[in-house]
Symmetry: C2
Subunit: 331 residues, 2 copies
């Protein structure tokens, strides 16, 4: 089933069918009607591969995320998807599981698909990609990592400020022994969130901080809490790198008979929907995922075609959200 058969049936040329399909240029409305009739009768759906091969473009955006299982990433994805659909684009996703090897594979896959734009919402990085990406001439947005370059926009959240807000708040409540829970990926000394915690420690001398890490899942949060606590360390507050892990921590504390916030305070990050629905509701830091999604889409879709010269770095200042999982230090 292809253009030619439709053309034959409608007694026109393939070019005309193509014009109808792309509702471009002027096709006499009687002709158009005949073609559309043929298309429907034959249940014809254009071969997208042929289309993008011939057209050289693909009206598809690629989204690569570290962990779609975490609603944080998914929320951004959803916004991108709906914006893209509104603009007539499709979206294809890929997961990296925080592995930069997988990032490379995924980027190459996207290049192979000749996507019209690529959003990398990842915290891992692979330097060799920058070159490949640049040569591919695909507009790219990095969220979280990377530095701005021609054709590459960067969107970042000022995690440091977010973490600082959390730590200052906890400090004001008398907390001095803090646990910090991250996922494996965040352990690298280059990581900004880790650094923020460490810097805060330096800034506020009375602070004692221990860290633990595990997978970026509910279960990972629980495991990390377990290893943090069973080391004999006895924090009055646990700061978590995100809400999902915080919910995991909540469970571990509950099972150990520790009350939140009376015995231990817990904080999340991201302000994912779940943070309001868990018990107790999490004190967290809001990251405007919809705004990020919109920014990404705008940047990608406006850029495809035009080669913007100066690509800005956009930094977002996250907002502290007080709920029920934090309280005065108990000891």
């Amino acid at each position: 089933m292809n253009l030619e058969q439709v053309a034959r049936r409608a007694k026109v040329s393939t070019a005309t069918v193509s014009r109808v399909l792309n509702n471009a240029s002027v096709v006499k409305s009687s002709t158009r009607a005949r073609v559309i009739k043929a298309i429907n009768e034959l249940k014809y759906y254009p071969n997208l591969h042929a289309r993008s091969l011939a057209g050289g473009k693909s009206r598809t955006l690629g989204v690569i995320a570290s962990n779609m299982e975490n609603p944080f990433f998914f929320d951004i994805y959803k916004t991108i998807e709906s914006d893209a659909h509104a603009a007539g684009y499709e979206v294809v996703v890929a997961n990296t599981d925080y592995r930069s090897e997988q990032l490379i594979t995924s980027v190459r896959l996207m290049i192979g698909r000749r996507v019209a734009g690529l959003a990398a919402i990842v915290s891992e990085m692979a330097p060799e990609l920058i070159d490949e990406l640049n040569e591919s001439r695909i507009p790219v947005v990095f969220y979280d990592v990377g530095t701005p370059r021609p054709n590459i926009t960067n969107i970042r959240v000022d995690y440091r400020r977010g973490i600082d807000k959390v730590i200052d708040y906890l400090h004001s409540l008398g907390h001095r022994r803090l646990g910090f829970i991250g996922h494996h990926d965040i352990l690298g000394p280059i990581n900004e969130r880790m650094k923020a915690v460490m810097d805060a420690m330096a800034r506020i001398p009375s602070l004692e901080v221990r860290t633990a890490a595990d997978a970026d899942t509910l279960e990972g949060g629980r495991q990390a809490a377990r290893s943090l606590l069973s080391s004999g360390f006895d924090p009055t507050a646990v700061i978590c790198v995100n809400d999902i892990m915080a919910v995991g921590v909540l469970r571990e504390l509950r099972e150990r008979g520790l009350r939140v916030p009376q015995d231990v305070s817990v904080t999340g990050f991201d302000n994912v929907k779940l943070s309001e629905f868990c018990y107790p509701a999490l004190t967290t830091v809001h990251i405007p995922r919809d705004r990020i999604g919109h920014m990404i889409c705008t940047s990608l879709i406006s850029k495809s075609g035009k080669t913007s010269v100066a690509d800005p770095e956009l930094v977002i200042d996250p907002e502290f959200v007080l709920r029920d999982s934090t309280g005065p230090a108990s000891r």
Copy 2:
């Protein structure tokens, strides 16, 4: 950057480069090495569109789900993805948001992409699709809806049995006034879960059931609970169509000062990871999402190529999981 340039650089023909790329047939290892060198030097990545156009196939599976935001769907997707990758396939997803109009769009998109196989993990349906799908000759697996046909495999969970297990258990604890919370999609009288509840009511005369529905999200669960309770109905147990909505219900009850399970029992469905992490942990029904994912992949990948004649209908019997959100009826 294309095959020809690589060929020129390696001083071979495009056919040979293609052979190397598909590591097919016999290529002298010295030649192969030269080609690979050229590929790397040029940072060449094959145009996937051209590939599938020329080859007529696409080594891509399509997955269409009703609501990827719900981990139930996502878990199945994840399994499919990892199985697919292991078999050298890629996966593309689409969401329908329970709208059959969107289902149609997505299916056509997948046909346009000439996917090697299509998994529809949806509860909505559109009859006209069956024909289109059949004519497209794409192997299809439906989860949850539809009836088996040539080239279409069906996988179902016996929801009725699951619901029955829940109702019987609650009944044995003395519960007589039950709330049933679903998402909008489930309201249709044809829906099996709804029917199961209604049939149970008929089966056990002393039962009184009221239903409420909202979106398939945490917030939707909460809203549905709100409308159920503010109608003046005072259930001793609330049965939820899935875990996510149940967690939403949990919150609403908590905010109304109702204790779970002392005042009201709550049950979920699916046994999503979150059901263990919320408070109180949900009594639920386990649906083996990994098994479903494997079945889908097996069916799709083995089928692509061979035209299996008899496509079985696979029915899964779900298992009751007792946790902390249920207890004896209070009144």
